[in-house]
C-alpha cells in the first residue's frame, strides 16, 4: 500500500516543523536574555531541514520525508546597550543581550505553523481515501 507511507512522509514533516516551532519558541523566550557571568548571551538557533527518502526500499524518490539535519547557532554579536546600573553590565557599562531578531522569529513561526497545518491536511485526506479504499466492494 503506497498510500500508507504518506503518513510516514507527512508525519516526518510535521515532526520537523514542530521542532522548528520549538526552536522559535526558545529563541523568542530568550529574546531579552542578558549575558551571564561567562560574558556570552543566548545565541539564536536555527534548524536546517534535509530530505530523507523513506520508501519500502529506502531509495524511492516518491516517498521523500523530512528530517532536521542540524540546529545551528547564529554567531553574530549580541545587541549591546549602555546601562551602567544594570547588574549584568561589564566593566565599561555595557549590557550584552541575545542576538535574537524577534521579527525574523515571528515570520519563522508563521511559516512553520502553516507548513504544519498543510501536512496535517495531507494526512487527513490520505486517511479519508484509505477508509474509502477499505470499504471497497461493500455496498
Amino acid at each position: 500500500m503506497s498510500m500508507l507511507s504518506i503518513f510516514n512522509v507527512s508525519g516526518s514533516a510535521a515532526s520537523a516543523q514542530s521542532q522548528r516551532l520549538n526552536v522559535v519558541a526558545s529563541n523568542l523566550a530568550n529574546a531579552d536574555t542578558v549575558a551571564g557571568p561567562d560574558g556570552s548571551a543566548y545565541k539564536a538557533r536555527q534548524v536546517t531541514f534535509q530530505t530523507q527518502l523513506m520508501g519500502a526500499t529506502g531509495n524511492d524518490p516518491t516517498a521523500a520525508g523530512v528530517r532536521v539535519s542540524t540546529i545551528a547557532e547564529d554567531q553574530t554579536a549580541g545587541r549591546k546597550v549602555h546601562d551602567p546600573k544594570h547588574p549584568g553590565a561589564d566593566g565599561e557599562g555595557y549590557v550584552t543581550y541575545s542576538n535574537v531578531n524577534a521579527i525574523e522569529e515571528m515570520v519563522n513561526m508563521i511559516s512553520a505553523s502553516r507548513s504544519y497545518q498543510n501536512n496535517l491536511e495531507v494526512m487527513n485526506t490520505a486517511k479519508t481515501l484509505l477508509q474509502k479504499t477499505i470499504q471497497l466492494g461493500q455496498s
Binding site: I6, S10, Q17, P61, S111, S115, N118
Partner: protein, 138 residues
C-alpha cells in the same frame, strides 16, 4: 474463465495504484516545502497509465487508426508493477534556497488527485455491484 470476470477491474485497479503513487509523490512535495535544495517531482499521469495498462488486452488498449496516433503497445510493463516516470516541476518563481515546490500548485494537484482517486474507487465499486447483481440474477 474467472479472469474474464476480473478483467474489467484490472484497468481501474492499476489506475488506483497509480493515483495512490501520485498522491504520495505530492505529499512528499508538500512535506519538503521548506527543505533547501529540494526539487519538486510529478508524473505525467496519462502516459504512465498508458504504459502501465499497455499489456492489458481487450477493448481497453488504445487502438491506432491513423499514422499519427501514438500506440500503447510499446510499453513492456506487465503484471501489477507500475514504473512511474518522474519529472521535475519547473518553478514558477525561483527561490534563493533552490527549492522548487510551488505550494499553490501542489495543493491544487493534491485535491485534484484525491477527487480522481475517489472517482476510480466508485468505478470499481459500481463495477463490482453490477457483477454481483448479474451473478445473483435478481
Amino acid at each position: 474463465m474467472l479472469n474474464r470476470i476480473t478483467d474489467a477491474l484490472d484497468f481501474q485497479a492499476r489506475a488506483l495504484t497509480l493515483r495512490s503513487e501520485r498522491q504520495r509523490l505530492i505529499a512528499s512535495n508538500i512535506a519538503n516545502a521548506d527543505t533547501p535544495g529540494y526539487q519538486a517531482r510529478d508524473m505525467n499521469f496519462a502516459r504512465t497509465l498508458q504504459a502501465a495498462t499497455g499489456s492489458l488486452g481487450g477493448a481497453r488498449s488504445v487502438s491506432t487508426t491513423h499514422a499519427g496516433h501514438i500506440g500503447s503497445a510499446a510499453a513492456g510493463l506487465s503484471g501489477g508493477k507500475v514504473g512511474a516516470e518522474l519529472l521535475y516541476a519547473t518553478p514558477g518563481q525561483t527561490n534563493l534556497d533552490r527549492n522548487t515546490v510551488d505550494m499553490d500548485r501542489e495543493r491544487a494537484s493534491f485535491a485534484d488527485n484525491a477527487i480522481k482517486y475517489e472517482a476510480t474507487l466508485r468505478f470499481i465499486n459500481s463495477s463490482v455491484r453490477t457483477q454481483l447483481s448479474a451473478i445473483t440474477g435478481q
